[in-house]
């Protein structure tokens, strides 16, 4: 009987202790390791040392690019040691306890601007990102014609969101700087604004500068922070306006009467600007403020009618302004975003349901060094742990019974009793992080996951920061582990930001990595010798160069229903493609023979939906126009050939 009794008494206790452990790990306990330490005044010796370290780190990054351009083996060592030297000391100091608020904020700004420098030295005198070319062309058109809303064939939705171009034009016009210099100045200011806005937003929510600084630091772990949101593109401005709006709204939560109305005035101005800046940022602000108003309406507890009315009014503005703007421009959004969203969801659902994946999903992703991949994976894992251990703790922060032990604070939340709806909404939005990671695992859904990650990280940052301060730092030894985890998360943002962060040689169909002087000079030749505004078509990268450096009118379709890929692929020009060229108004074709040297890095040469995704083109396919009557080869530099096709439609 004794053994049986022992078994019977052991089983429940094991289960109980298991539940106890899980409850301790993910539960809403805010007591463990929460000490922030006494705050000391800002320490100049730390600031000076970290400024010097960051400068040396950036010099190593520059040296890494220089070595990479020359294909030296030492390039990765120089580059990545620079990254480590930049990220590690600054992240450790920002997250450390007992650091003055001002010092934290200064170091956050230093790290942000250093990361912007890191992005800029990849191409220090010209735009290189795909989206940057689209906005460069639009801004150039605005500067030349002094008119808004001009069509942009490379970004059809662009004219409906001209705020970035307006700002760049204002700086160019007032200062006389080149567009690239003006854009760099604007982006540096935007990056600083984003990180300050995030810090202020989090600080208003949780009331603790350290959690705010860690949350802002965790945001740098987003794959879009280092590169994507630092490009001359409308989302860089959109996210800045979004964050400032959130910070102003959060700061106005305790205001009443006239000050509240004044804050609403500023929020309205910012939301109106956001509505004309970037569709997704405006949509995110609308979802955030709409959900916030909904949760505030659900909330039980002390009623502040004025605060609820203000939230409701903000939500109406955040939702109505973008909708009115979209309708005023004939709703170009559905046609632009619809196919991307549809393809993304289809791919992800297909993957989950085990359906056969489309051809585009079979691309081999370029391999990164093992350490880089491990850092990215570790960062995602740590973020996931941070979310799991921070979810209930963040909710508990806003529960009326915050000081109570056990699950009582969560019971309060379930009874719709909380103090700040913003924290509850952000906690719910953190679910966007795993969803964004799932999308990023598919090629079709990558774009959705990438954009979604930017916004999901605003929520995830808070949860991870609360978890770091209230759970991970339980003991002195864990404090070091938590600091290292933060370092890995920020490093993950750097490693996940680009497939090829080190400047290397030309790569085929790899956007920024395919932009180099020979292609640029060929595009400049077209401007010098053919004049501007000729109708050209080519591959994706050369289209960008022709539109920007060449000021040509590039076409994404030969005629309706015939994409350029159909004309360039195959060793002979089929009758459909020939007659499409004859019927079209295309003047010139630019052929880049380097496309035949390797398969496309991004999986496509011309457009994402091209039929032979990922397969290498041959030289014979590209040079078939030599044998077409009426087509002449007017330019040749050994790699790039320009064909004059005006003879096909009698314009010559």
């Amino acid at each position: 009987m004794t053994p049986a009794r022992l078994t019977a008494s052991t089983e429940p206790s094991l289960l109980q202790s298991g539940i106890q452990i899980v409850s301790t790990v993910i539960g809403p306990d805010l007591h463990g390791g929460s000490s922030d330490g006494p705050t000391r005044p800002a320490r100049c010796e730390w600031i000076a040392a970290l400024c010097l370290t960051a400068a040396v780190a950036l010099l190593l990054v520059v040296a890494g690019h220089a070595a990479g351009r020359r294909a030296y083996d030492v390039a990765p060592l120089l580059f990545w040691s620079g990254v480590v030297l930049l990220v590690v000391p600054l992240s450790l100091r920002i997250g450390w306890s007992g650091v003055a608020r001002g010092e934290r904020l200064f170091l956050l700004l230093l790290l942000t601007e250093a990361l912007f420098y890191y992005k800029s030295v990849y191409s220090p005198t010209s735009f290189v990102g795909h989206d940057e070319f689209l906005h460069w062309v639009a801004t150039d058109n605005l500067l030349a014609t002094r008119r808004l809303f001009l069509s942009n064939p490379l970004l059809p939705i662009g004219p409906a969101y001209p705020a970035l171009e307006i700002l760049a034009t204002a700086i160019v016009n007032l200062t006389g700087l080149t567009l690239f210099a003006a854009a760099t100045l604007l982006l540096a200011v935007l990056k600083g604004t984003v990180v300050c806005g995030l810090f202020l937003f989090y600080e208003k929510l949780c009331g603790r500068p350290r959690i705010a600084a860690i949350a802002a630091l965790v945001n740098m772990g987003c794959s879009t922070f280092v590169l994507f949101e630092s490009t001359f593109s409308y989302e860089s401005l959109g996210i800045a306006l979004c964050v400032v709006t959130f910070a102003v709204e959060a700061a106005s939560r305790d205001l009443d009467g006239r000050p509240r109305l004044q804050a609403l005035g500023l929020i309205a101005l910012l939301l109106a600007s956001l509505a004309v800046t970037h569709h997704l940022s405006a949509a995110f602000a609308a979802v955030y403020f709409g959900t916030l108003a909904g949760f505030e309406a659900l909330r039980r507890g002390p009623l502040r009618i004025e605060a609820r009315l203000a939230m409701g009014f903000t939500a109406i503005l955040a939702i109505a302004l973008p909708l009115v703007w979209i309708e005023a421009h004939g709703n170009p959004l559905t046609g632009y975003l619809g196919p991307v969203v549809e393809a993304g969801f289809e791919t992800l659902l297909g993957k989950i349901m085990g359906a056969p994946s489309p051809k585009s999903e079979h691309l081999s992703v370029p391999a990164q060094p093992l350490a880089v991949r491990l850092t990215t994976l570790m960062a995602i894992l740590l973020l996931a742990i941070g979310l799991a251990t921070g979810f209930f703790r963040t909710l508990a922060m806003t529960a009326p019974s915050v000081g109570r032990t056990g699950w009582r604070p969560i019971q309060d939340i379930l009874r719709r009793r909380w103090r700040d709806s913003r924290i509850v909404v952000l906690t719910m939005f953190a679910f966007g992080f795993p969803v964004s990671v799932a999308f990023r695992l598919t090629i079709g859904g990558w774009e959705i996951g990438n954009r979604m990650g930017t916004f999901a990280f605003i929520a995830a940052g808070l949860l991870v920061a609360v978890s770091v301060v209230h759970f991970w730092e339980g003991h002195a030894r864990q404090r070091i582990a938590a600091a290292l985890a933060l370092v890995i998360i920020v490093s993950g943002g750097v490693t996940a930001s680009s497939l090829y962060p080190i400047h290397g040689g030309y790569r085929v169909a790899a956007d920024g990595q395919s932009v180099e002087p020979m292609g640029i000079e060929a595009a400049q030749w077209t401007k010098a010798w053919l004049g501007t505004g000729n109708r050209f078509t080519s591959d994706r990268v050369n289209r960008l160069l022709l539109a920007s450096y060449g000021r040509q009118d590039v076409r994404l379709k030969v005629v309706e229903g015939v994409a350029p890929a159909r004309v360039f692929e195959n060793e002979t020009l089929g009758p459909d493609e020939f007659w499409a060229l004859v019927r079209s108004d295309i003047d010139f074709l630019l052929v880049d023979l380097r496309l035949s040297t390797a398969p496309p890095v991004l999986g496509f040469y011309f457009e994402q939906w091209e039929a032979r995704h990922g397969k290498k083109l041959s030289g014979a396919e590209l040079l078939k126009f030599d044998d077409v009557k009426g087509v002449t080869r007017i330019f040749d530099n050994g790699w790039i050939v320009i064909y004059d096709v005006r003879g096909l439609h009698g314009n010559s």
Partner: protein, 251 residues
Amino acid sequence: MAIPSHRDLRAACLWAVATLVTVVVSDSVFLRTIVGAPMVLLVSGHAVLRALGIKTNSVSEHLTYAVGASLAVAIVGGFALNAIDFLTPLGWAIWLFTIAIGAALVADRRTDTPDLPTWPAPIRGNLRQGTAIALAVLLATGGYALAIRDEATHRQFRYTEFWMLPSIDNSGRLTVGVRSAETQTQRFDVDITIDGRPFAVFRSLILAPGETWTRQIPVPISADSQKAQARLYRPDDNRLYRSVSTLVPRI
């Protein structure tokens, strides 16, 4: 120490005047950047914050809101100036001047304009720390300069551009051009044929890297379409190097 009310408003007005004057009288990029960039990115927004009566609790908060408001002011300005066809340097200067002066006047008339937040106490540092920060700035600037130099000097591909174009005005001329982007000076020959018949030859063209050679060649025009072809040879290695063609305009 809190900044006494309205002194900042006078500074904003002065800045707006300076921007307007600089844009009108100066072509100096340096001067216009020093004055114009803060006007677009900070000063106008600061004046608007003061006009709205937004109270901020820290300098960082005030600066962040001021930048946000400045961006909004400039965006609204873009639409306003576009509507009156005045998206010019002067248009921008007048817009920002109007906003800054107007907002400052509104803020000046308000009785409830909140004081600006208190400036944080200056951080005390010694000479060694100051030197370290100056060295850091120097290193970062030098690093950027090195990156610019490296990008300008490094070229992966070496090549020669060769082209032939018909005249735009159908005047019966062809333009033939060669531009060298090779590593060293090279010698070229150019042969031109029309409908397969030899038409012109240019021997021993010596081109240094970066040099361009062009010729306009009169050609007989006829009612029928003729195809002109040009070949670029490198006599040193006896190699056909490039080949281009064009249609000779018809009568």
